[in-house]
């Protein structure tokens, strides 16, 4: 019982449980039972963790644990503060949901990779908990690497697929390039503060020349993990090719670890340089616009969701950038609005993006395809999934009365306040950018929802799809209910984020009621209720009216065409074609048309449309292939003749000896 009353002990215990949850599966001979054990242990750990989080939010201070390990990096310190707590909220919720979902989505009965997958899912979640609790640079890096590498093993579950291999390699290169930057960060931290232990908040002077390098290193290392443009290139492939519940964790949780890292690094310094806030703001705006424009051009269901993650990370960074700019210009409202916007969006994105990825898993399970243009009419066959997916889509577009609107509202109010009061209101330009992003998100998700769930099935697979079982529906129900509840009662979200905001901005006193005077989250509850009541009343009136009037059914009106087929429906690619052309400079999908010499194309000619990724396909892949060409000369040194290798070693030692003398 002493353990339960101490939130930190609960958290560490939950992390250990999660890490060990998949272990029985690796040894037990009964895979199905082992998977159930793992799921139940993970759910128990999540409940325990959530309990600790509630205690921490209630104001209980977490203890500091120090572990004297025999490594020369100082003691391994675990501690929890409000910033960590904020990130733990979605972590335990999504981990619990995913554990249940995976029982039906990746059943051990059918898939022999289930044991491995279950093990790494547990390890992955545990590593993220430790990342959030670690207060020693080396311990942090260890947890970070366990997280990054288990994500690699998770996403390469279906490793026989060439596409999976490629995105796995891209991910591995990207994450380790980022880790390299983190080595720079933590080495410099050690040389400045004299210890690998994290310094106290605002303990380091930013005037120090190494401080700039540390911030840039954090931006590269953590920004790459978060998927901030232009370091986002690994993200669409990795999210698309991983099993869907893993994508949910990667997008909903792992990207946030990058955000956490940047926030944590910034908190070390006394004052923030001017450029950092603006840089984050600009990168955030770029990621938001470019991410959602990329998403609109996608044909692959999960790539679309992955690109929209880039957009959401962009929105989070817009909030952080606003807050930093506000700290610079001594504008408290910009600071609180920016931080609230960012922090609430962190929780929200964890909810609705995980929901959408779990939903995409149901779709893939039911239709066997990830291609949007091969689906259609699924709302009839999957009524529950289609409802939850609609809730997720509305939430991610930031539309009232769902939760996505709450975070964006804070950002708008902050930006417009800047527009009113700042002498040169550059930050106010965030508002039209957000409006554009919101408009693009509506295009993207109307396309996704409309083409996938509505109309009639475009293929036989779509026509014979089936609804998922209760184990997959249940977790989605939980997440969808979370989106709806926090959207209807934004006070809930504000209260969850408030401790972290006060901690981060150093605000004393009753933040919630003070913010309530500036940002209308209280009237929003009334307005949302009014909206829902009005819609329900109209629906009741309409149905009543309908029951008294004659009604008939028939096919959709098709200009009196006699033989319509489902293939004549509008496709997702045609739906987004107009907007993709408008944003051609950012998106530029590959189109291969046959050249038309006569009225009709020759037999066998095809039209090809493929969404491309500017950074990966146009910049990195050519550079890497040139580098590979260069290395092919060096490869001659490696020929497999053992005695020559021994000679290399001898020669190296010899040269070193001469150099040392």
């Amino acid at each position: 019982m002493a353990l339960v009353s101490e939130p930190m002990a609960c958290l560490l215990f939950a992390a250990v449980l999660l890490a060990l949850s998949g272990l029985p599966g690796l040894f037990l001979q009964r895979p199905v039972a082992a998977q159930w054990i793992a799921a139940l242990v993970a759910v128990f750990a999540s409940v325990l963790g959530a309990y600790a989080v509630i205690q921490l939010l209630g104001g209980t201070a977490g203890a500091v644990y120090q572990l004297d390990w025999p490594l020369p990096f100082g003691p391994a310190e675990f501690s929890v503060d409000h910033l960590s707590t904020l990130f733990l909220i979605p972590l335990f919720l999504v981990t619990g949901c995913v554990a249940i979902y995976s029982l039906s989505y990746w059943p051990a009965k059918e898939k022999n990779t289930a044991a491995k997958l279950t093990f790494f899912v547990g390890l992955f979640a545990a590593a993220m908990v430790v990342v959030l609790l670690a207060r020693n640079g080396v311990l942090f890096l260890m947890a970070w690497e366990v997280m990054a590498v288990s994500a690699y093993f998770l996403l390469t579950t279906e490793q026989q697929d060439a596409q999976v291999q490629r995105s796995g390699t891209v991910y591995l290169v990207a994450t380790h390039t980022g880790t390299m930057a983190l080595f720079v960060l933590f080495s410099l931290l050690r040389s400045t503060s004299g210890s690998f232990l994290f310094p106290l908040p605002h303990a380091l002077s930013a005037a120090f020349p190494a401080a700039t390098i540390m911030m840039v290193a954090a931006l590269i290392g953590f920004g790459g993990k978060a998927g901030l443009m232009p370091l986002h290139f690994w993200l669409p492939g990795a999210h698309a090719n991983a099993p869907s519940h893993v994508s949910a964790m990667m997008s909903g949780l792992m990207l946030k670890m990058g955000v956490y890292g940047i926030l944590r690094t910034i908190s070390f310094f006394t004052e923030i340089p001017v450029w950092l806030g603006w840089l984050l703001l600009v990168l955030g705006a770029w990621s938001a616009v470019n991410g959602i424009a990329l998403a609109a051009s996608q044909r692959d269901l999960k790539r679309l969701l992955a690109c929209s993650s880039i957009e959401n990370i962009g929105i989070i960074f817009i909030g952080i950038g606003l807050a930093l700019v506000g700290m610079q210009t001594a504008s408290p409202i910009l600071v609180t609005c920016g931080l609230f916007g960012a922090f609430i969006h962190i929780i929200n994105h964890g909810l609705f993006k995980s929901l959408l990825f779990l939903g995409s898993g149901v779709l893939i399970h039911g239709t066997g395809s990830r291609e949007i243009d091969r689906m259609g009419g699924l709302a009839k066959r999957m009524p529950a999934t289609s409802l939850f997916f609609l809730i997720g889509s509305l939430a991610i577009c930031g539309l009232p009365p769902l939760n996505g609107f709450v975070g964006e509202l804070f950002l708008y109010v902050g930006a417009i306040n800047d527009g009113i009061h700042a002498p040169l209101p550059l930050a106010a330009l965030v508002a039209p950018v957000l409006a554009l992003v919101g408009g693009l998100a509506v295009i993207t998700f109307v396309k996704l929802y409309g083409i996938v769930f509505l109309g009639s099935p475009r293929t036989a697979d779509a026509a014979h799809s089936h609804e998922a079982g209760g184990l997959m529906i249940g977790p989605m129900l939980v997440l969808a209910a979370g989106c709806l509840a926090t959207g209807m009662a934004p006070l809930l979200l504000v209260k969850l984020a408030a401790p972290a905001v006060s901690w981060y901005a150093g605000i004393e006193g009753d933040l919630v009621s003070r913010t309530g005077q500036q940002v209308p989250f209280m009237p929003l509850t009334v307005m949302n209720s009014l909206l829902v009541v009005l819609a329900l009343a109209l629906a009741a009136g309409y149905l009543l009216r309908l029951s008294k009037l004659p009604r008939s059914t028939g096919p959709t009106w098709g200009c009196a065409y006699l033989a319509p087929t489902p293939r004549m429906q509008y496709t997702g690619s045609s739906f987004s074609e107009m907007v993709v052309n408008l944003f051609g400079a950012l998106v530029a999908p590959l189109r291969r048309r046959p050249s038309l010499a006569t009225f009709f194309p020759a037999v066998g000619t095809t039209f090809c449309y493929a969404a491309t990724e500017l950074v990966l396909d146009r910049v990195l892949t050519p550079i890497f292939s040139w580098i590979g060409l260069g290395f092919s000369y060096i490869r001659r040194l490696q020929h497999g003749q053992l005695h020559i290798y021994v000679l290399y070693i001898f020669a190296t030692l010899f040269v070193l000896m001469i150099w040392a003398h």
Binding site: G376, L394, V413, I416, A428, Y542, L549, S574, V579, L582
Partner: protein
Amino acid sequence: MTDIIIHCLIALLLPPLLLGVITKTKAAFAGRVGAPFFQPYYDLLKLMRKGSVFSTTTTWVFKAGPLVTLAAILVAALLVPLGRHHAPISFQGDMVLFAYLFGLARFFTAIAALDTGSSFEGMGAAREVTFSCLTEPTLFIALITLARMSRSLQLSTLLTYPTPAIWLAAGASMLLLVVALFIVLLAENCRIPFDDPTTHLELTMIHEVMVLDHSGPAFGVILYGAALKLLVLGAIFINIALPVTTGNSYGDWLVFVVAMLVLSVLIGVVESVMARLRMVRIPQLLVGATILSAFAMLLVLR
């Protein structure tokens, strides 16, 4: 209290008349007598008594679309001040909710269109969401400009702020705003030169093509919602373009109603003297409107 009741009555009852006025103006330009001013009311009543045809392809989304759209626009109508009177509901930051309610309305109209599986309606939905995506930044830049002038985030304060004195002081930026907002008004309400509500060719339509399969009361709800949207966006336009007050509460209501009717005549005139733009030109004009409002903002910042 009286003002709230009058606000609700105007918002609920006036919209169809605006459509009637537009039709009458167009008829006058074409040298016809035209349908009576109250024809849209008769149409709505008639539609409420008509039976419905539902496509076998559709689901509940098809039925929910018009209803959620109307609910969202109704809530938006409670937030916008009509004339010189404050709106019944008003709070700091209501402008953001106002803009996003239209987003919700658009989302549901578009998915209801896609629910039929018709490629015409898919085409219309794609156009609607794309063009609206371009009008949203314009609206926000205009609102920020007004917010800076009036130092408020409340639609009611912000839109009742312009006065003749302010027009004299900041005439250029007000004029730019008015032009930009008029373009937004025409585009959002699917009027010529962006969309032709009376065309007979589905391929060239935007809004009308999205609602091809709706019938009976649902179609009535859609028509009414479109008219209400015209009133709500028209109210924003009039509040900025016509900043006069009579000093008398009832006088102000009268001024507003007359101004709305004049605005309808103006829209009718535009529809009569202009042709619909080619589809590829529409984004250019919309981006042009965004730049106009950005100019207005620059002038205010100066």
